[in-house]
Point group: C2
Chain length 322, copies 2
């Protein structure tokens, strides 16, 4: 059995806990949190983050479930000196820097870290690489959604006159259809996505004014086709509590002037954090197995051979799935 520790117990940590129950070759040793372990709503053993030092020989791999803004950049390099780790670090613009920090940490402790797993970065990155490698003459398009965008929801909730709100990113289906047909398209983030807001007005707020404040917000909504629906607090609670997401990576290319070829990877997720966790768990299996083979240093989804993700022996995979 592969012995796993979870660091951080928000949506992602709970998702990892749920997914570990489905993995017959892995067991959860404990959840590590900066909060009082007794306060965590779990049946699993829970400990203080600071107790991790007592577990260095009891855990094969730690899954880091903190936030990418402040938790992971600090915890990753700290823990990767003592443990093999997997994370879903998702700050694209700081990735090379984080990679270097983790390289230094893993080298100091002869450990292995697989960074930036999940679906984007993660599976989407993998398919961007494969699509471009197989169809070098072509273009790659990423569409996100339909899905809940936390950052955009936060932005709307900050508007004067908004009591509560969620925001869905919707991919432009017409543009996707044109790409699949091989048409020349004008693709950018604005044309590729629409934004749909469900907002609860504060008492006495003017809907027209609030709508105008939302749709003209720079960076978040300006330049996008944005629809704002005003709903009751009850309706928001009844119909908008899920964390759906997903999207598409499409590589459209030619192998010869006449031959248009479309490579597409899609996800349609009822729970974004649980699916991200599912990917983390599969890469945690890979990390434990690679570490057992003596591999150290930093790896990404680009470096890991697919067979390490599966609990099944390679001979079975060849007989059943190839």
């Amino acid at each position: 059995m592969i012995k796993v520790g979870i660091v951080g117990y928000g949506n992602l940590g709970r998702g990892v806990e749920a997914n570990l129950k489905l993995a017959n070759d892995m067991e959860l040793v404990g959840i590590f949190s900066r909060r009082d372990p007794a306060s965590l709503d779990t049946q699993a053993p829970a400990y203080y983050y600071d107790d991790l030092d007592q577990f260095t020989d009891k855990i094969d791999v730690l899954i880091l479930c903190g936030g990418s803004r402040t938790d992971i950049p600090k915890q990753g390099p700290e823990l990767a000196q003592k443990f093999n780790t997997v994370d879903a670090y998702d700050n694209h613009s700081n990735m090379s820097h984080y990679y270097q920090d983790m390289q230094a940490a893993t080298q100091a402790g002869n450990k292995l870290a697989i960074i930036a797993t999940g679906w984007d970065p993660g599976l989407f990155s993998l398919n961007r690489l494969m699509g471009a490698a197989i169809l070098p003459q072509g273009n790659t398009y990423t569409f996100w959604g339909k899905g809940l965008s936390q950052g955009h929801g936060d932005a709307v909730r900050g508007v004067d006159g908004v009591a509560d709100a969620v925001q869905y990113t919707i991919p432009n289906q017409d543009l996707m259809a044109d790409i699949r047909e091989g048409k020349e398209v004008a693709y950018d983030s604005h044309s590729a996505h629409k934004r749909e807001v469900y907002a609860v007005l504060a008492d006495g707020a003017d809907p027209d004014q609030v709508r105008e404040a939302i749709v003209t917000m720079p960076d978040y909504f300006q330049g996008y086709e944005t629809t704002v629906h005003f709903i009751s607090a009850e309706e928001l609670k009844a119909n908008h509590q899920g964390l759906p997401h997903g999207g598409h990576v499409i590589r459209s290319g030619q192998t010869s002037p006449e031959a248009h070829q479309v490579y597409e990877f899609s996800l349609d997720l009822a729970s974004n954090p649980e699916f991200t966790a599912a990917v983390n768990v599969a890469y945690a299996r890979a990390a434990a197995r690679l570490a057992k083979e003596g591999v150290t240093g930093v790896q990404t989804v680009f470096d890991v051979a697919p067979k390490y993700l599966s609990s099944r022996p390679i001979a079975e995979l060849i007989a059943d799935l190839l």
Copy 2:
């Protein structure tokens, strides 16, 4: 530059030749055929198959483009003793046997062989593995088409009263939609696919009799929803000369009782042999690079880390695609 040889010059061999022109890190050393090299319609250097022995130190990897029925099972083990090889061997039921033959051959010569690349087996196999590893609680569904099925076309052309014909395999869109929505479905090859035949009648043939002979043909059409269109020889030539194909691998699973998650990989190909060739070329790059690192033996798409498929350095991949 990675030096490549092509063995066999049918649709697949021509596809590899076309795709090598798009790979800026690979060069074609020669095409090897059992036919007279002067008879091949190519600008590339062409040689007799039997001349391959003179090229053992001039070629980094051979791409085997013969047929899976008789060519590859013989040529693969023969050539993998002297060359690194890549093939698109696609006989699922004989795969384990072929794997062993290639293992013996590569071990005898300290060479590397990547077998069964292409899209099915190949990319579809890879996505079956990843989907199941990430969503262990779920089901995997494969749909083929819309695409030209050579075997079914041959079967129809063998029917009395048929002068010429093609057959398209059509995936059942309703069934795919149900799967994506997480419904319980009755999936088998018959319910998942429809068959569409375009046939030219021989002089004096009775269309009703021919149609009946086709739709009741055991193994090929019996049990399928089959539509037969009778068209003129001119229309067949004008509209049915392409080799389109494609399909979908869908993994539908749950990460918790409430969370339905859909993982999907799709291909829509104007030219099946050219895309298969494109995959072969990417895996040939991987084979040459792995061999240079000292790796020997047999590998499949399950064993190859994705980064080896791309000509770009890993630091660039991390900065641009992760």
